[in-house]
């Protein structure tokens, strides 16, 4: 089987030109194809990334805003043979759905979560999100964001057992490695994808190439299993 068979042909993809979600989606299809897709179900919430569930040519569920994780937990409990992937955004998973993330990570529910972090609410036009960096200008922080961004790694690592990966679709092979390990992990796994919104960040005049180029400059990959520094990509896990 080719990864292309995992793309739902009849559904046009609605993401903006240049969006990093294309790369994320195709790389995820490659991983699911390589691992075997028979038992895979993709579940999402609302937002740009949330649309992604509908692009997989698999049984998929596009839930309500913020509730992809409990939806996925119900699916997994009902049929533990299924490989359940949550494919959703930062607003959905770390904002409105934050409580579910907190508790699914604590319970160590056996699902894999891909959290596409574009650092704002993209679909509604670029409002501040819990993931927006300090000082960043958005439509609802015209003078710059006065708050620090949420630390997803710290939330995940506050548990006894955890799997946290930080990566980017810009580094496709690293993202694929993270997703493969996450899906093989017996327990709750969380991948934070650094993937800024090209349309809203682009309002400042930056091209997608510049935006993704800055990610390559800012971050480096570490193979060490220890809490990641702010400028590192890698995998931290226990249990």
């Amino acid at each position: 089987m080719s990864f292309q068979e995992l793309i739902r042909k009849e559904t046009p993809i609605g993401w903006c030109p240049g969006c990093g979600l294309y790369g994320t989606f195709y790389a995820a299809c490659e991983v699911i194809d390589e691992l075997g897709s028979e038992n895979t179900v993709v579940i999402s919430g609302i937002g740009c990334t949330g649309r992604g569930a509908g692009y997989f040519n698999l049984d998929s569920v596009h839930g309500i805003h913020g509730r992809a994780i409990p939806l996925a937990v119900g699916v997994k409990m009902s049929n533990p043979k299924l490989d359940v992937i949550v494919f959703s955004g930062d607003g959905d998973l770390l904002g409105i759905g934050g409580n579910h993330l907190l508790h699914a990570a604590r319970r160590n529910d056996n699902i894999s979560v891909i959290c596409n972090n574009n650092e704002l609410f993209a679909m509604t036009g670029g409002q501040v999100a819990p993931t927006t960096r300090l000082g960043n200008i958005t439509t609802t922080t015209p003078k710059g964001n006065a708050q620090e961004a949420v630390n997803a790694q710290a939330i995940i690592l506050s548990n006894k057992k955890y799997f946290y990966a930080r990566t980017t679709p810009v580094l496709k092979e690293h993202f694929k490695k993270c997703l493969k390990e996450a899906m093989a992990h017996d327990g709750f796994s969380f991948i934070e994808l650094i993937n800024p919104c090209v349309t809203n960040v682009g309002k400042s005049g930056k091209s997608p190439a510049q935006i993704f180029g800055e990610i390559k400059e800012r971050y480096r990959i570490t193979e060490e299993s220890r809490p990641l520094k702010d400028d590192e990509f890698g995998i931290v896990k226990n249990g």
Partner: protein, 332 residues
């Protein structure tokens, strides 16, 4: 056993496979009882998690139920609309208590009638049942699961807090029932896309009014057709009476002695309103609804029957036959 325990016995008989809820008075005993069984169970981190876990479990092949009370029922409303949209069989039990907000948490009421019918957003119709005895808690629990499976929609099981905690002897073996099988193929067996977006097949088409209309009317038809198999009501005719009393749930139990003087109609399926009431109502010059809220079902019946319907409301968790009789004597 109590009403809550009878509900659990019923859904177990009907093949419940998954349950999730969040503690709330007066529904908590349902969760405590199910936790002792083999049903797949998780106590949700909140009300919204609980219903979404049920939706996921139902999609994956388990008959699913959640249970709550008024405030939790409000939190679940968005998800109820979603389950309706994507066609998921699900039972939502609401053990009603007094008041907006925390109100009088340990006192029973019938104050979520409107919420049961109209609480979610957008256009929808749904099936709502209301029992008036512990035995009926058992029987209607089975029928709620059946109706959810048949209509592919969330069925609201509207119990009041008094009945939830009231104990009566029930002959479980004396209740006849039939179990409806799951028709929806479980997740993992196809290439379907379940989405809250207006869609054509598996593809979102959220900018075409005709697709929305086509979807809505076919969904409505599916639910109304399924509802035809659940035309539950009770009619106690008193030929000497020109007044028809209408009550459901615990109110209908309390006013039962009034059958010596009045005719009584008890809707067991609150929504869609059982159509037989239309013909029956024509025989009476006066119609009075007696309910433990400020006229929620009266409002519905007035619209349905297109005539004046009087109200006797019993608020604050107290229901008294004496008070009701006094008020009735003043209604002309």
């Amino acid at each position: 056993m109590s009403g809550n325990e009878a509900i659990v016995e019923g859904v177990l008989k009907a093949g419940l496979g998954f349950f999730s809820a969040y503690p709330i008075t007066p529904a908590t005993e349902i969760m405590e009882s199910i936790a002792k069984t083999d049903v797949k169970f998780i106590q949700g981190e909140d009300e919204i998690a609980a219903i979404n876990m049920c939706i996921g479990a139902s999609l994956a092949g388990s008959k699913a139920m959640t249970a709550t009370s008024g405030p939790g029922f409000s939190l679940k409303q968005e998800s109820i609309g979603y389950a309706y949209k994507i066609g998921v069989p699900l039972v939502v039990v609401c053990c009603q208590r007094v008041g907006p907000s925390t109100g009088m948490a340990t006192f029973g009421a019938q104050s979520d009638v409107m919420q049961a019918r109209y609480g979610s957003h957008g256009d929808y119709v749904n099936i709502v049942f209301s029992p008036n005895s512990v035995e009926e808690c058992y029987k209607l629990a089975i029928e709620s699961i059946n109706a959810a499976e048949e209509s592919h929609s969330p069925v609201i099981y509207l119990v009041d807090g008094i009945l939830a905690h009231m104990s009566e002897t029930v002959d479980l073996d004396g209740v006849n029932f039939e179990i409806k099988k799951r028709k929806l193929e479980p997740l993992g067996t196809g290439k379907r896309h379940f989405t809250g977006l207006t869609s054509q097949g598996n593809t979102p088409k959220e900018k075409d009014p005709m697709i929305y209309r086509e979807w809505y009317y076919s969904r409505k038809k599916e639910i109304l057709n399924a509802a035809k198999n659940y035309q539950f009501f009770e009619y106690l005719e008193n030929k000497d009476s020109d007044t028809l009393l209408i009550a459901f749930g615990i109110s209908s139990r309390v006013i039962l002695p009034l059958k010596e003087k009045y005719s009584i109609f008890r809707p067991i399926r609150l929504f869609p309103v059982v159509e037989q009431i239309e013909e029956i109502a024509k025989k009476y010059s006066k119609i009075v609804v007696i309910e433990m809220n400020d006229g929620q079902y009266r409002h519905e019946l007035q619209a349905f029957l297109k005539r004046e319907v009087k109200l006797i409301s019993q608020l604050g968790g107290k229901i008294s036959l004496g008070e009701i009789e006094n008020e009735l004597s003043g209604i002309n």
